[in-house]
């Protein structure tokens, strides 16, 4: 049986390694290093970190309380609300972006934003909003599962100890769910870093303005600047690699946390 499984495993490893090698060996090392120092790469990297970081923070602020609410409350239409929140995870990001573009382009919404002096379309703010649309449902789903796994009576016990609802959330529910939520945060950030379709629709693809790493790959492939595109692609791959390593690193305390809850440290 083990030998039978070895073949598909080997094929999968070869495919992935082939793709990585295809990207890696296109450029000599000296050219890669020189390209890394260009202002366009530095800009794309900086903007990516900024937008993905902001989108992740907003997703946490929206998704964690929403996840707690959905895990604890039953109300009419809950299934519809949950399905609606989950929907962006199954939609093509490009389509989600088109929807957001139409929403922000709506005259009423546009006039309101103009009056408030908020400019979202074709700006980095638009990129953040697009990324929030894609990653907040992931955060909500992860948090909902994390809180649902905790016996709600711990929260009742905390209430009888004199803790207000906000204190119960911050001092009991959140710490007990922290490991799962933390892994959700890392996943959200990774997803935001690589977000392309929705960002393209809402923020557009303008060099040195809305040029995140995925947008830089797209722009430079389109204009034949293969070097910059490849270096951006490698930065994205490295991000994914770091995320996977971080997940494994979180995974150890996660297992340790579970052990503490069951057996003590």
């Amino acid at each position: 049986m083990q030998y039978i499984c070895l073949l598909p495993t080997g094929m999968l490893v070869l495919l992935i390694a082939g793709v990585l090698a295809g990207l890696l060996f296109q450029l000599p090392l000296s050219q890669t290093l020189a390209t890394l120092a260009t202002s366009e790469i530095r800009f794309a990297l900086g903007l990516t970190l900024l937008t993905s970081g902001a989108a992740t923070v907003i997703a946490v602020l929206l998704g964690v309380p929403a996840g707690h609410f959905l895990s604890r409350q039953n109300f009419k239409g809950k299934t519809v609300v949950e399905t609606l929140i989950d929907l962006p995870m199954t939609m093509t990001p490009l389509v989600a972006g088109v929807g957001l573009l139409f929403l922000l382009g709506n005259e009423g919404v546009r006039n309101t934003l103009d009056r408030l002096g908020i400019e979202l379309l074709f700006t980095p703010w638009g990129a953040i909003l697009a990324q929030v649309l894609i990653v907040a449902p992931i955060m909500t789903r992860t948090s909902r599962a994390a809180f649902a796994a905790i016996d709600g009576r711990y929260e009742q016990a905390a209430q009888t100890l004199g803790l207000k609802p906000g204190q119960v959330f911050l001092r009991v529910s959140l710490p007990m769910a922290r490991s799962v939520i933390l892994s959700g945060v890392v996943l959200c950030w990774a997803r935001a870093v690589g977000e392309f379709g929705a960002t393209l629709m809402v923020a557009g693809a303008t060099r040195f303005k809305t040029e995140t790493l995925p947008i830089a790959v797209y722009l430079n492939i389109s204009s034949g600047e293969l070097g910059i595109a490849l270096v951006c692609a490698w930065l994205l791959i490295m991000t994914g690699f770091v995320v996977l390593l971080t997940m494994r690193w979180i995974g150890k305390p996660l297992a340790a946390d579970a052990a503490v809850l069951r057996f003590g440290p």
């Binding site: 905390a158 209430q159 100890l161 004199g162 803790l163 001092r171 710490p175 007990m176 946390d257």
Partner: protein, 226 residues
């Protein structure tokens, strides 16, 4: 010290419960599973809605949220927070009292010492035995300076020897702190050992037995047999 009075308290399970528990009294509520014993505790703690009225020292507390009622609630499975040590469980329970840091430390030390678990202060609940967790949970409930102690079958998860040893301890602590206490159990012997007064809850209706010794009479024994 607090007198508790319930007037015509009803829920889906409970039927017009009238009950007064005097200051410092240990009232044991005896009844079979599903009779509504835990429901009554949850109603008093504000965790479940009800009709009727509840008074603490003559003041109606119906509109108070659970965190404002100052009840010490010992759940059947204790519910010590697993991510906190025993010391931090007690610290959290005292957070709303806003004591000074030193006063809080002294109070926690005193309580842990009284309950015989001072050496276990920095252990997590998962590292403790059933009896130790029982003591820690009771210490946590008392750390809140409760007006009433609500105990929901706290010995049901312990082996008979441990339960036998802990009952007089509980009674001694209750006398020491002079806390009005409502203790729920389905164990008649436990009720007789602990109670100042016993009530029997059957199908949501309460019968009050002013003197636990009365339960020894054959007709009373038949009444509380389930």
């Amino acid at each position: 010290m607090t007198t508790i009075r319930l007037e015509k308290v009803s829920t889906g399970v409970l039927k017009e419960i009238d009950l007064t528990i005097a200051e410092g009294e240990l009232f044991v509520l005896l009844g079979p599973s599903g009779a509504g014993k835990s429901t009554l505790l949850q109603v008093i703690a504000g965790l479940l809605p009800c009709t009727g009225r509840i008074f603490f020292n003559g003041a109606c507390i119906d509109r108070l949220s659970p965190h404002q009622r100052r009840v010490g609630y010992l759940f059947q499975d204790l519910l010590l927070f697993p991510h906190l040590t025993v010391r931090k469980n007690l610290q959290l329970a005292m957070a709303h009292l806003k004591p000074g840091r030193r006063a809080a430390q002294e109070k926690i030390r005193g309580l842990l010492d009284r309950f015989g678990i001072l050496p276990l202060a920095d252990r997590y609940p998962a590292q403790m035995s059933g009896g130790e967790k029982q003591r820690a949970a009771l210490a946590r409930a008392i750390a809140t300076d409760p007006r009433i102690l609500l105990l929901d079958e706290p010995f049901s998860s312990l082996d008979p020897q441990n339960a036998e040893r802990l009952r007089p301890e509980l009674k001694a602590h209750q006398r020491h702190f002079r806390i009005t206490t409502l203790f729920v159990t389905h164990n008649r012997e436990e009720a007789r050992q602990l109670a100042d007064r016993i009530g029997v809850l059957r199908a949501g209706r309460l019968t009050d037995y002013p003197n636990p010794v009365e339960i020894k009479k054959p007709e009373e024994r038949a009444a509380v047999h389930f």
